[in-house]
């Protein structure tokens, strides 16, 4: 029997930080910056 396939944590994809966040539907500033702290400070 052929050996079972290896488990690929990346699912065959080479995803950058921004791709991961985009796939999750996140709409962060510049892709991975949270502005919560800035907004709190300004208010």
């Amino acid at each position: 029997l052929p050996a079972p396939e290896n488990f690929d944590v990346d699912g065959g994809l080479d995803r950058d930080i921004f791709d991961i966040n985009e796939d999750l539907g996140l709409d962060l500033f510049e892709g991975d910056i949270s502005l919560d702290g800035v907004q709190e400070r300004n208010s």
């Binding site: 488990f7 065959g12 995803r15 910056i33």
Partner: protein, 637 residues
């Protein structure tokens, strides 16, 4: 970001939230180690400071920019964000950095192709003004770990960022490690002049040989040379690519007698952490019996000249190629590293050479997989490589699998395999973190951008067929054979098909002299599991070892229903005791034997002297009680 208020103290308080995945915890600590090696930024567990960073598993990977002075400042390391460079990237944001391509001068270096950007995402390509951000007099950096990749926010398949110098198109977006300019900026922003864990680096390019000294207590000297007729033909630092440079240190065993030595000592070094990793490249063109001994000369209050302590004897050094070696040190006092070349028996035409020495207060990798003639595998469409078998410190046997079949990238996978200790180990294998790193062979450890990936064995993970993924290989693995024909069982691999792209592999010094090094560490990270452990199913092995801790990397075994420790040992040292808590060495035995012999000898001498004295006294007394002219032989006759 401009503004002193955004700065953190040099030691940043942090909390690893319970929500974090186990693998992410280990990766975050690894990223902290890179900061400690290359910058003056350190991290400590939060102990009530007003502001701290809480790392948690949110949705995605993100951070705020700079110290927001909000008390608990969140930084998310979500699913698939558990990569060392990703954590470095997010913490650089937290330390006050925006993305590289948002610099005020970015249009001089890259073109943003606006009509290729997903509608509504254009705001991600904002450039700041000089009033908002400061580039700290550091040139634009295509190599930055903070740069977007060329495909960021693209709508189709065409790049959204085009570099003005085309060579950099596949350079931008690296997620390996800090670039030189990342470090320059960070160290300027935080006024860093040293780091916590870096100690010394030497490629012998300068004539002062990094302050190393030749010992007078030997028979020969190490010579600074650029080539040796019998090899090496060039140094390891730049493999002879630069004419007039490229030096290394050479001990010519061919010009001395058997048993002669040459001793080279480093400058004095001042440890902070108490553990060190010495890494260097060694070339043998002499005889297989030539050896290199690594000592430390440790200075303490009572020993102003230092005590020489043998740490490792490196024997059977392969002939004819540069080889990477790691030596673990545990020194707490001022010390020197001592390289002692020893001429062995047998004919020698060359000798021993050393180059690219790095000493840091970091943990050495547990194993090194040296792949020779690497490029031959790249051109093979069926290319795939299995490493030799290795054992983890807990006793698990494993193998690494590298796939080279994809046309653009290399994959890497960790496999458990059947091993000699399997009866004594816990199954399914719990919380062992395997870190696989392809070494950037830059001579200076601070400039290396090595690429690593970590995976962690989750004992509750199941395969599609309902079996535990990390169960005993003899139970869930498939039959395999070593090159010598020995049969064993190999479990499914767990890793990534996107370990590194060929473009990045050919950048830096990952392939040097057609050699590649994969550094491997497999360590138990159970202690990072702060939440209550769920009951873990075991196959056949008793849980007795779960409550019996062996010190000093001893391995717990169950014998006759009792937990016992198997203690580690070396050629001239060993651990002993119920929990391997006591250390012994050949030197201790010699000292004990010598002192016992001396004590017995002294005792016998005292007894003899007392006996002689008493006997003489007795006979003198008896002789004194007889008249002077008495004939003794006839007195009682």
């Amino acid at each position: 970001i401009v503004g002193e208020g955004y700065r953190w103290p040099h030691t940043i308080p942090y909390v690893l939230d319970d929500s974090l995945e186990m693998n992410a915890r280990g990766v975050i600590l690894e990223a902290f180690e890179r900061y400690r090696l290359k910058t003056c930024i350190d991290f400590k567990p939060w102990s009530g400071e007003a502001n701290y960073i809480s790392v948690f598993k949110g949705s995605g990977c993100w951070s705020s920019v700079g110290n927001q002075h909000v008390g608990k400042q969140n930084l998310s390391i979500g699913h698939n964000c558990d990569r060392t460079a990703t954590v470095q990237h997010e913490f650089l944001h937290a330390l006050g950095f925006f993305h590289e391509q948002s610099r005020s001068d970015r249009d001089d270096y890259v073109s943003i192709i606006w009509d290729r950007i997903t509608p509504g995402k254009e705001n991600n390509f904002k450039a700041y003004t000089d009033e908002e951000t400061d580039s700290l007099n550091v040139p634009y950096d295509y190599n930055s770990v903070m740069h977007y990749s060329k495909t960021a926010f693209q709508i189709g398949s065409e790049p959204t960022i085009v570099t003005r110098i085309s060579d950099f198109m596949d350079v931008i977006g690296q997620r390996l490690d800090f670039s030189d300019h990342d470090l320059l900026k960070l160290n300027r922003l935080y006024n860093c002049s040293s780091s916590l864990s870096f100690m010394d680096s030497c490629d012998f390019e300068l004539e002062n040989v990094c302050g190393m000294i030749q010992s007078s207590e030997d028979s020969a000297d190490w010579q600074r040379v650029s080539q040796v007729p019998e090899g090496p033909e060039s140094d390891h630092s730049n493999l002879g690519q630069c004419k007039g440079s490229g030096f290394f240190m050479h001990f010519s065993s061919s010009s001395v007698n058997v048993g002669d030595t040459a001793v080279l000592e480093s400058r004095k070094l001042y440890p902070k952490r108490g553990f060190q990793c010495l890494q260097f490249f060694l070339y043998n063109s002499g005889h297989e019996n030539d050896q290199l001994d690594i000592y430390i000369r440790e200075y303490s209050g009572d020993n102003v000249n230092g005590i020489l302590i043998l740490v490792e004897e490196i024997k059977d050094i392969p002939l004819g190629s540069w080889q990477l070696y790691h030596v673990t040190l545990k020194v707490t006092n001022k010390f020197r590293v001592v390289f002692r070349g020893v001429r062995g028996a047998g004919d020698s035409l060359g000798g021993l050479s050393i180059d690219d020495i790095n000493l840091s207060e970091t943990q050495c990798p547990h194993h090194t997989w040296h792949i020779r003639n690497f490029t031959q595998y790249l051109s093979d469409p069926n290319g795939a490589l299995f490493s030799p078998p290795f054992y983890s410190s807990k006793g698990y046997a494993f193998q690494i699998y590298m796939t080279l079949t994809n046309l653009t990238k290399i994959g890497i996978y960790f496999h458990l395999i059947s091993g000699a200790n399997d009866d004594q180990l816990q199954w399914p294998c719990p919380w062992q973190q395997a870190t696989m790193t392809i070494l950037d062979q830059n001579p200076d450890i601070r400039q290396r951008m090595s690429n690593g990936r970590s995976i962690t064995t989750d004992p509750s993970l199941t395969s599609d067929d309902g079996t535990y993924f990390w169960d005993r290989p003899s139970k869930v693995g498939t039959e395999a054979f070593f090159p010598n024909g020995t049969q064993f069982k190999r479990s499914r691999g767990y890793g990534s098909s996107s370990f590194i792209t060929y473009e990045r592999l050919k950048s830096r010094d990952f392939i040097k002299g057609n050699d590649v090094y994969i550094l491997l560490t497999v360590e138990d990270i159970s202690h990072l599991n702060s939440t209550q452990d769920e009951p873990v199913p075991t196959s056949s092995v008793s849980d007795l070892c779960a409550f019996f801790r062996c010190e000093n990397d001893g391995i717990c075994l169950v014998r006759n229903g009792n937990a016992e420790c198997r203690c580690p040992s070396g050629e001239d040292w060993w651990y002993m005791g119920k929990r391997c808590e006591k250390r012994g060495s050949r030197r201790d035995t010699i000292v004990i034997a010598t002192s016992s012999t001396a004590a017995v000898f002294a005792l016998m001498l005292v007894i003899t002297l007392v006996s002689v004295y008493c006997t003489r006294k007795k006979y003198r007394k008896e002789a004194g009680s007889h008249p002077a002219n008495t004939t003794l032989e006839n007195q009682y006759a």
